[in-house]
Point group: C2
Chain length 464, copies 2
């Protein structure tokens, strides 16, 4: 792994004057920010003129810049006088391997979208090199938009791991399980075995973790769910699944199993604080109680739910019952942006409108959903999700001085309602500056261009 910090491009400035102090401790990096939004309960929501001190991959101090100048010194000082620094955004539901299908069939309802467009496209092209290429494109898109970690569910997780490894991003990769055969695996046991092989391959990787990812209640049998619960417990892994995304899948479950999918998962022992359920669009009031009782997490994907005509998840009710809600983009075939700024804004706006109450999901809550709530959902709360001492230096700088987004009265509010991902200037993962004003530390533009051209020609777009 290369990175801006270790010499590829000299973007960090040496600043001997402002950090000259005989007793100052030498550290790997200092970020001097106009504002910091730490998303950390022990701190105020907004710190002004503060610095973040980094040793190796860890945040070792957060303190007023005036104090930092006397206590720390570094060859790498990044001055960000017009920026707010936030914890890296965490995308808790995505299919990074699908980015080459971005916009391949828009304005189409979920089941025909899957059956007539996505699954045939996958049947034609799915392979490890396809997934690795698509995943690298997704990693590039996400890093440039301030996403430092994503929760993936797709085929060929080792191919995605290779892309994650190159890009220098953080990921929790789903060991995807389905009953039906694909190019990747022939049956549920084969999916599981391939998943565990993948899991073994990155077991000691510092930025890659695993979950078991049964695709959905409508594509996974009771028997397989039971196995998954046992394996998850034995291996200490979380479970990531689609849940109650559409009315149709609920009706189908009632016909096939005599109960709604959530109830079925409850009976099968799938519900617990290690479950990340994507969507949760259609939830009855008692089901919200069940999710709260079991401590399950909902990965809310507002753009995708709207775009596929699935509906609007009852997020205000979930939050009222203290269910942990994080945000996800879903895949680029149904969004079509892996853009967590868009999801923060949409989540904050949408539920105000639905509830006819402008105080539902304030800006700080939306930012929490994209950071600390997401870290909780993935079981990574001790490691990421806030700018806190001892946590990984996964950080994002957002420039607030462009005229088109000025003036700025409240940087946290601005992040959610005014900024877009285009205002992200720097993205660090584990202390390494992986994205800096349009340039990636470890991804070449020509590489992405070749990937896009190669695969675009092989996909047949949908025509109305």
């Amino acid at each position: 792994m290369r990175g801006f910090f270790i010499g590829k491009i000299g973007v960090m400035t040496i600043n001997p004057l402002s950090n000259k102090s005989t007793n100052a401790q030498v550290v790997d990096a200092i970020i001097e920010a106009r504002w910091i939004a730490p998303v950390e309960r022990k701190q105020a929501p907004l710190l002004e003129y503060y610095s973040i001190i980094i040793q190796a991959d860890v945040i070792v101090d957060v303190l007023p810049t005036d104090d930092a100048k006397t206590r720390y010194t570094s060859d790498n000082v990044m001055c960000l006088p017009e920026h707010v620094v936030i914890p890296g955004l965490i995308n808790t539901h995505v299919h990074a391997g699908m980015s080459l299908m971005r916009g391949i069939a828009d304005d189409v309802t979920l089941m025909p979208w899957l059956e007539q467009h996505i699954w045939p496209a996958e049947a034609a092209l799915l392979a490890a090199d396809y997934v690795q290429d698509a995943s690298l494109l997704s990693c590039a898109e996400m890093l440039s938009g301030g996403v430092t970690c994503f929760n993936e569910m797709y085929f060929y997780p080792q191919a995605t791991a290779a892309a994650v490894n190159q890009a220098g991003i953080r990921a929790q990769l789903g060991l995807t399980v389905l009953e039906f055969a694909t190019h990747y695996a022939c049956d549920a046991d084969d999916y599981l075995q391939k998943g565990f092989d993948a899991h073994d391959s990155w077991r000691h990787h510092t930025r890659i973790s695993s979950s078991i990812a049964p695709h959905a209640p409508y594509t996974v049998s009771d028997k397989t769910f039971k196995k998954i619960v046992t394996y998850a417990e034995q291996l200490g892994l979380g479970i990531h699944t689609h849940l109650h995304e559409t009315r149709d899948e609920i009706k189908q479950s009632e016909l096939q199993y005599g109960m709604r999918p959530l109830q079925r998962l409850q009976k099968l022992g799938v519900l617990n604080p290690n479950l990340v359920a994507a969507h949760g669009v259609h939830l009855l009031p008692y089901e919200i109680e069940v999710l709260a009782e079991y401590g399950c997490h909902i990965a809310h994907c507002p753009s995708s739910n709207l775009k596929l005509g699935s509906g609007i998840a009852p997020i205000a009710s979930l939050l009222n019952r203290s269910v942990n809600v994080s945000l996800g983009t879903d895949g680029a075939a149904s969004n079509n942006r892996l853009d967590m700024f868009a999801e923060m804004r949409l989540a904050a706006l949408l539920h105000k409108g639905v509830g006819e109450d402008a105080t539902i999901i304030c800006a700080q809550q939306a930012l929490e959903m994209a950071t600390i709530n997401a870290a909780k959902a993935l079981g990574l709360e001790d490691k990421v999700g806030s700018i806190s001492l001892g946590k990984q230096a996964d950080l994002v700088a957002v420039k607030l001085s462009d005229a088109a987004i000025s003036p700025c009265y409240d940087p946290v509010s601005h992040l959610v309602y005014t900024c877009g991902r285009e205002h992200v200037t720097h993205t660090w993962v584990a202390g390494v500056l992986q994205y800096n004003n349009g340039v990636y530390a470890n991804i070449e533009p020509i590489e992405l261009k070749e990937i896009i051209q190669k695969w675009q020609l092989k996909h047949k777009p949908f025509k109305h």
Copy 2:
């Protein structure tokens, strides 16, 4: 007025080889585009490798680039090999004079937002220079986001006209009318008189037109509405008002007038095909019939309606009854972006989700709402809103080749679901390139910086 075309910055390339033809007609400008989305019924939704031929401020031909090369020649040939060119976007409800209050009070419901934040701020600072400065900032924001025309409602319209004049954008400026006194005017007659004086001042301006803009049924009396109807008829002007934005204003009307606001406007003769009603969030089925019957236009402002907790307008029902629906951003104090790409995307997504039908508002419809429907609403259909022979050359180029938005299978769909305003590279108004990759023809960055700094210090932001 200066402009890129007439020599300020030489961005148009002279291309003698590709346009050398002895019989070729010399024209002012040629735009060679990879794609054109003309939003013109006589054309396909998407043209590939076509050129737009411009003489002075008018589109004089749209034809395949191969043919254009033999038939036309120009010193100004703009090659856009990775771009889609669209009609300039038209923002049909905005308060450009409010951009200096961007984000001044987020997460607050409409009435307290107005009464406790916006109106006190206006009471403190409202003046012609304030409005001119705020309007110039809005014009800059809109030009950079592909907006070529806006429908304004605010105080001091002559100050906004000065900003419009400088920026080189097109606008329909509301002659705002209220009953209560502000720094701008003391009573309804005073507002009207000042409005007509303003209207006279730009009567022969080619890019500025007027509407009469009674603020809302809850701020304007019956008597004044009647006068406005008469004046509008005499002067051939449209009427622009807020309508049924919140439940509260409807309840208040029922108490005060014994009827809902729409019914009151019907009785007062306000309803006709020259009325642009912003919002229309709360409409009963029979009220949708009334709007359809009278040929009124709804300026749908989805971001603002959600953000203020007003609700979700029944757009699918309005479209089913063939009510003409256009899009608006509303002011920067309630959005907080004057971003028509965000409104197109949100409109297309939101109503799919509400109706649980992914086919509601397809990409082409969303683009029409932001262009030709908007032109119809403003009575400017013969002049702008599509890339058509004889119409004004109000054009926008959007670059589709960035990796983060690739691949692209359908440029129209991409515009709505994938692109953001950050992908706008060029904006022409009346044949003049007013914005080119971050640079304005007639607005200096330092000018905007000074405006922002000057007024930001005078505003007191809201603190939760």
